[in-house]
Structure formats: C-alpha cells, structure tokens
C-alpha cells in the first residue's frame, strides 16, 4: 500500500444535504454517488484512507479534466452496482462514479445494464489516494467522450487472509445504514481545515 498524499491527514469532510437528487442536464458533469455510510457512519476506507481524502481526490481528478463533479448520496441500497447505476442515470453526461464506505469503486454509464460497468475496482485494500485521483480523471474523460487507458488494477494474493473478513463486516455494517424507501439526496462536501480554495 502506498502512502496517501503527504498533507492529507489534516483534512476532514462533512456532507450537507441540499435536497432530493435530480437529473442533471449539463453534459460536462460526473455524478459521484456515495453509499449510505460514506463519510457518515464511517470516516475512512478499509485501509484507513480518510473519506475526506477519497472524495477530494475523486473530485480533483474530475476538475483537472475540466469537468464538474456533483455529489449524491444513495440511501436505499448498499449494492455498488445499484448505487453507481442510479447515479449514472442522473448524470448529465451519463457517467458516474459509485463508491462504498470501504473503498470499493466503480465507474458506470447510464446505457449499460446495471450489472455491467466501465471500470470496477473490487480490491478495496489496494485503493489509495493516487488511485482515487485516477478514477476521477478517467470518469471525467469518459464524460468528454475520450477513451482513457483503464486505471491499472492491482492484485494481491494475501489480501484474502488480511482483509476478506473485515470487508464482509464493513459490508454488513453498511447494509445496516440503509434507509429503505428514501430516494437519493444531493449533498455538498464541506472540507475541513487544510484547504486553501
């Protein structure tokens, strides 16, 4: 595991609900869809990358490409494909990034079947800040109709003994935070100390 960006640990994020999520019309937006417990019940991924940093890097990757990011929290499911697909259908560009509290991430597109995806990052223990930046960047490039090289995925045979059970536990906890019947809500990220802009 590589280290997160040097200055990261200071930053915090809180999410402010601004109302029901709506369908976007701007073709230059990517919707980032957060799972029920992201930056709420949980504050960091399975390998302790702070959710503030995850979000900041995803958004930075999108912004660097000249695309805007919009945040949505999905409350009635903790299924990554469902979260990402819901967001894709709300995205003006049709592109979304879905993310679970433990870090598992997926880039989705509105016309794809729910169980499919553009890019999937299933090994949450191997995702660090630079990877989240690249995921954001790729999502934005898809939104622009470009064809980025897929973010290289890594593999670690020993992830099983170390992380398999914790991943299952986090998964169960996330399920506990589901609020059945509540539609997706639009949220705003308010970053804590350490930011300049």
């Amino acid at each position: 595991m590589s280290t997160p960006t040097a200055t990261a640990p200071d930053r915090t994020v809180s999410l402010r609900e601004v109302g029901p999520a709506r369908r976007g019309t701007r073709p230059d937006e990517v919707v980032i869809a957060l799972s029920p417990a992201f930056a709420g019940h949980f504050t960091k991924t399975i390998v302790d990358v702070p959710h503030a940093e995850v979000l900041r890097q995803l958004m930075a990757g999108i912004e660097e490409q000249g695309v805007t990011a919009r945040l949505v929290r999905v409350l009635e499911t903790a299924d990554l494909a469902a979260i990402a697909h819901t967001a894709a259908r709300m995205s003006g560009s049709g592109i979304s990034v879905g993310i679970l509290s433990r870090g598992t991430t997926m880039i989705h597109q509105k016309d794809l079947p729910r169980l499919s995806n553009l890019e999937l990052f299933p090994q949450s223990p191997l995702l660090d800040a630079p990877v989240f930046r690249m995921i954001g960047s790729n999502a934005a490039q898809y939104a622009k109709g470009e064809h980025p090289q897929p973010v290289p995925t890594r593999n670690d045979q020993m992830a099983r003994p170390r992380w398999q059970a914790k991943a299952a536990l986090l998964h169960l906890k996330e399920f506990d935070c589901i609020e059945p019947g509540r539609g997706p809500v639009e949220v705003e990220a308010v970053f804590g100390p350490g930011t300049a802009g």
Binding site: Q157, R160, P161, Q164, A168, L169
Partner: protein, 564 residues
C-alpha cells in the same frame, strides 16, 4: 501515523512483526451471520412427514419453505427414516460418529434422514479431535489422496506439461488448471493432459472455465473431470449466482451424460461475504449446501470454505467449523475434496495447523488444490501450500506416519519426467501443427521452477493455434494418435486408457480415482472400513517405505552418506 505512542516493550515489537499479525481477525456478529457455528439465530431441528412428504423442516412449515428447504426436503432427506433419525438425541449421533464400534454404514443409515439443523446440532457437540475422529471413519474412500493445481502465470503450455508430470510423479491423483488468458485454454488443457499422463498414468485432469467451454473440453476428452460448479446456502445468494438447485442438478446430469466425473463446490463464509446470510451461521448454511449437493445426486463436493477462507479464518472457532463442514460432506456419503486450496495466512504455523484436521485423519482429497507450481504462478489466486512446501509436507507425513497423498521423488526421476513431458508435448504440437516447441524450451522446462524460467512464447501464434484446436475439433483421440506416432507409446496408451474409462462410467461413482495400474478406486470397491485401532487405511508396507524417504536422510549403515 506519526503521532507519539506509549512506549512498547521490545517483546511486543517482535510480536507485532510476526506474520500472523498481518492476518485479519474480526469479532462475531451472529445477527448477521458473521459467526462460525454457534449461533442463537440458527433454527432448532424438527421434521414432520405426511404422506411420504416432508411438511415441516427445522421449524418451517412447507408453505413457507424457500427453494433450499424445498429441494432438501424433496431430494436429500430419506422420508422413510427421517422422523426416527431426527428423534435420536444429537449426543447419541455424535457418539456414533466417533465410536469405532459403529460402522460407517450404520452412521449413514441415520444421517440420510437428518435435517440441516439436526446435523448442525450433532457436529456442534464435537470438538476438533472428535471431528477428526469422525472424518477418519466417514471419509468415503478408504485410501486418501490429494489434488494439485498446475497453472502458469504466462499460460505457458510447456510449463504446465512439465509441472503436471512432476506433480503426477509426486502423487497427485487429480490435477486442475485454469487460465490467465482464457483463450489459451485448449493448449493448456492439452498440456495438462499430456504432462499428467507422463508423470503417472491415470491422473485425472480438469480445466476450470465457464460452463460451456469447460464442458466442451471435457466432451472432447481433453479434460477428465470438473469441480468449479458453485452452490450457495441461501436462496438469495444462489439467485445472485444465477442458478437454482434445479439448474445445477440439470447440469450435474449433463456432465454424467458425457461420462465426465464432476463435483460441486461450496464453503462456509460465501453467503455472509456476499451480504445475504439471512442471519444464519456459516456452518448451518454450508450444511444446506451439502444436503443440496446430495439431493442433486452429484457424487461429491469440494468444500472447506475454499475461496472464502478469510472469513471463517477470522472469527472464533472458524477452523473448527471448516473441519466440521468437511466431516458433514463425508457423513452424508459424498466425496469430499477438502479445501486447503487458497492462500489462507501469512503465518507458516497457521497454514500448517489449518490443514491438520484434514491431513491427519485423511480425506478423499486432502487439498482440493495444492499448488504444484510456485504460488506466483498459481492462477487460482494462490494456494495454502505450494512447491516451496513439498519437502515440509513430505516430512510431516513421515513424522506422523500419515498419508497426505504425496511423496519425495529423486531429482533424476523428476528431471526425466519433466523432460519427457516437454518432449511429448513438443511432439503433440508438431503433429497437430501447433506453434513449435523449441529444444531450448524443452531444456528450460526440465530444470525450471517458475514461468520466469522459460523462453517467452509467441502469444499471438499460440492463441491462433488455440482457436484452431477448437475449430478443427481436436479431441483426446488426436492426442493419442500424436503421441503414438511420435513414439511415446506408453504415454499414448495411458491417455487412451483414461479416455476408455469414460465409456465405462466407472469414474462417475463416488470418490473415484484411477490407480497407476488404471484400476478405478471408489467408495464401492475401496470403501472406508475403519473400525478402530488397527483397522481401516493404515500407512504400511511399500507405501510407508516410499514416505520414509526424504531429500536428506543420513544412512544408518554408513553415517557418512545419505540414503535416497
């Protein structure tokens, strides 16, 4: 993190750096099914039979059965004996399992009527030594065996052939492969088949792929059996896997209809990992899988958590549950390929301990995939044991006088087999006009350890050739012809004999393997007859002499030399 911590003792520092602390451990959460086998949320045993039909199962009325309940009630449980069997106190059944005076057959007469909750109730009473004792008696085949993984990180067929030959020579009764690049499958499956028959005639091979291709390779006689047919313990997870007990039963019959040996795969932890354990313990759900497999009429099961081993491995009593699930498969008369096939721990001590409940009593296949290649080449994401562990495994067999299915083989024999396998494959490729295998590759295969030790192949040419193998409908018969015409008469004869077995169907029976002289050995003609000390399978005679050999053993007659 950089913050200052309280001072640590030097001993703690050493302990912190031990590999076992890289493993993950979690607390139980029984409400969600994150618990090995002791949960208040598992159902209590019950059964009611009316008009030859189960109308209540473990506290659920027939109208409320989910499809697992329905399938188990209608196919797995013997209605004639069910009420009587479930009425027997669990402690008494548990005692039957360990009592040498009660035969395997006597236990089966009871177990065929048991419900999932009742079986759980029985094994919950047993500690790990009792579970091992039960396994020693309930294993279907008298003679234990082992299975190897023979794969290549580069999907290099020459490597697979050479490692298959060495693996077969070392004793694996079955060899399994899979691919990085799926389109390589035909060439790698051919390599496995040819290499396996060089090492020891009668080794059975399989190639794990999606159903259609796997079945096709089997039907063509390029592979001999299949085991990656997954089943799950809850209805919702089963559906997530896009199957039902009925679709899987249909598939089981499809394999048998082509004369191909097959077993299902399941294991503790898969349901909770997929988030739908429905609040039941891992072992309870696995018992449902085992009974579903039984009801489908499949001859055996690969279980022992398998790819989810990190989940039971992280909770209290998890490995006891894993040992128990193997026992349950055996006590309902299924062949059990008992796991130990996936990377499990950073700790060598834990890796070894994990295998003892299977290795010491013996199972039908102690590992359902001991990596007979270095783990870096293992395309099943790593096994609990790999080639580096061969000498340790052989030593443990010798220490405890147990048969774990392998043996030490002298270097010259191994080199000869690897060389011959590579040459045989070279001849087969030439005969089938596949991209040639150079003498340099044969030389590399003879002495190699991993895929890095081989010259690179022209992958494009290989993939085109792999497609042509499918297009030209190359079959096992073509391999036999190729081997025969190139002068590898013995290998050709071995392969033909394996193919002929398909016509007889003998390998379809429970726990069947082929011995080196091509005798099918199954639970029918090699039934486990354990009846206490001095009975059952005993490591003795010629086999024990084989296992006494290690790489370095000082000669008693001349202590200045080594024997072997």
């Amino acid at each position: 993190m950089t913050s200052t911590r309280p001072r640590q003792s030097l001993r703690t520092e050493i302990l912190e750096s031990r590999p076992v602390n890289l493993d993950g451990f979690v607390e139980e959460w029984p409400e969600k099914g994150l618990v090995a086998m002791e949960s208040d949320f598992d159902p209590a045993p019950s059964i009611r039979v009316q008009d030859g039909r189960v109308v209540e199962l473990d506290g659920t009325e027939r109208a409320d059965f989910d499809f697992m309940d329905t399938f188990i009630a209608d196919h797995a449980i013997d209605v004639a004996s069910a009420e009587a069997s479930v009425a027997i106190p669990s402690a008494e059944i548990a005692r039957m399992l360990i009592d040498p005076g009660v035969s395997r057959g006597d236990v089966l007469a009871v177990s065929r009527g048991l419900t999932p909750a009742k079986i759980l109730d029985v094994v919950k009473l047993m500690n790990v030594v009792e579970i091992m004792q039960g396994m020693q008696k309930m294993r279907a085949r008298r003679t234990p065996a082992n299975q190897g993984h023979s794969t290549s990180a580069r999907d290099n067929p020459i490597q697979v052939a050479a490692d298959a030959a060495e693996g077969a020579l070392r004793g694996f009764a079955e060899l399994e492969t899979t691919l990085g690049v799926v389109r390589y499958a035909p060439l790698v499956a051919i390599a496995l088949q040819v290499g396996g028959q060089v090492g020891r005639g009668g080794v059975l091979t399989q190639c794990a792929l999606e159903e259609a291709t796997e079945l096709e390779l089997g039907m063509r006689g390029i592979t001999a059996y299949a085991e990656t047919i997954s089943i799950y313990g809850t209805e919702s997870v089963f559906i997530d896997g896009d199957d039902t007990p009925w679709s899987k039963s249909f598939l089981a019959a499809a394999y048998a209809s082509r004369g191909i040996k097959m077993r299902f795969t399941s294991g503790t932890g898969s349901e909770v990992q997929m988030g739908n354990a429905e609040g039941k313990s891992m072992l309870y759900l696995e018992i449902r899988c085992i009974l579903m497999a039984k009801g489908a009429g499949v001859q055996g099961l690969q279980n022992g958590s398998i790819s989810c081993i990190g989940v039971p491995g992280a909770v209290p009593g998890g490995l006891r549950a894993v040992a128990a699930e193997n026992l349950v498969a055996s006590m309902v008369d299924l062949e059990c390929a008992s796991g130990n096939d996936q990377s499990f721990s950073h700790s060598a001590m834990r890796r070894t301990a994990r295998a003892m409940p299977q290795m010491l009593p013996g199972t039908d296949f102690v590992c359902s995939g001991y990596s007979s290649v270095p783990n870096a080449d293992n395309m099943f994401a790593g096994s609990n044991f790999d080639t580096d562990d061969f000498d340790d495994w052989n030593t443990i067999q010798r220490d405890f006088q147990v048969d774990g299915g392998l043996r030490h083989v002298r270097e010259d024999e191994i080199l000869a087999a690897r060389n011959k396998a590579a040459r045989a494959l070279q001849a087969v490729f030439a005969h089938l006009d596949l991209p040639s295998i150079t003498d340099d590759e044969v030389e590399a295969a003879t002495y190699a350890n991993s895929s890095n030790d081989y010259p690179l192949r022209d992958v494009l040419a290989d993939l085109k050739a792999a497609q042509s193998v499918m297009d030209r409908e190359v079959t096992g018969l073509d391999l036999v012809k190729a081997l025969e015409s190139a002068g590898f008469h013995d290998v050709a004869e071995n392969l033909l004999t394996v193919l002929r077995q398909r016509v007889s169907g003998d390998l379809l029976q429970t726990s069947a393997v082929l011995t080196a002289d091509f005798t099918p050995l199954s639970a029918i003609n090699d039934p486990n007859d354990y009846a206490g000390p001095g009975t059952g399978y005993r490591l003795s005679g010629e086999r024990w002499e084989q296992l006494k050999k290690l790489r370095h053993v000082t000669s008693a007659s001349n202590p200045e030399t080594e024997v072997g």
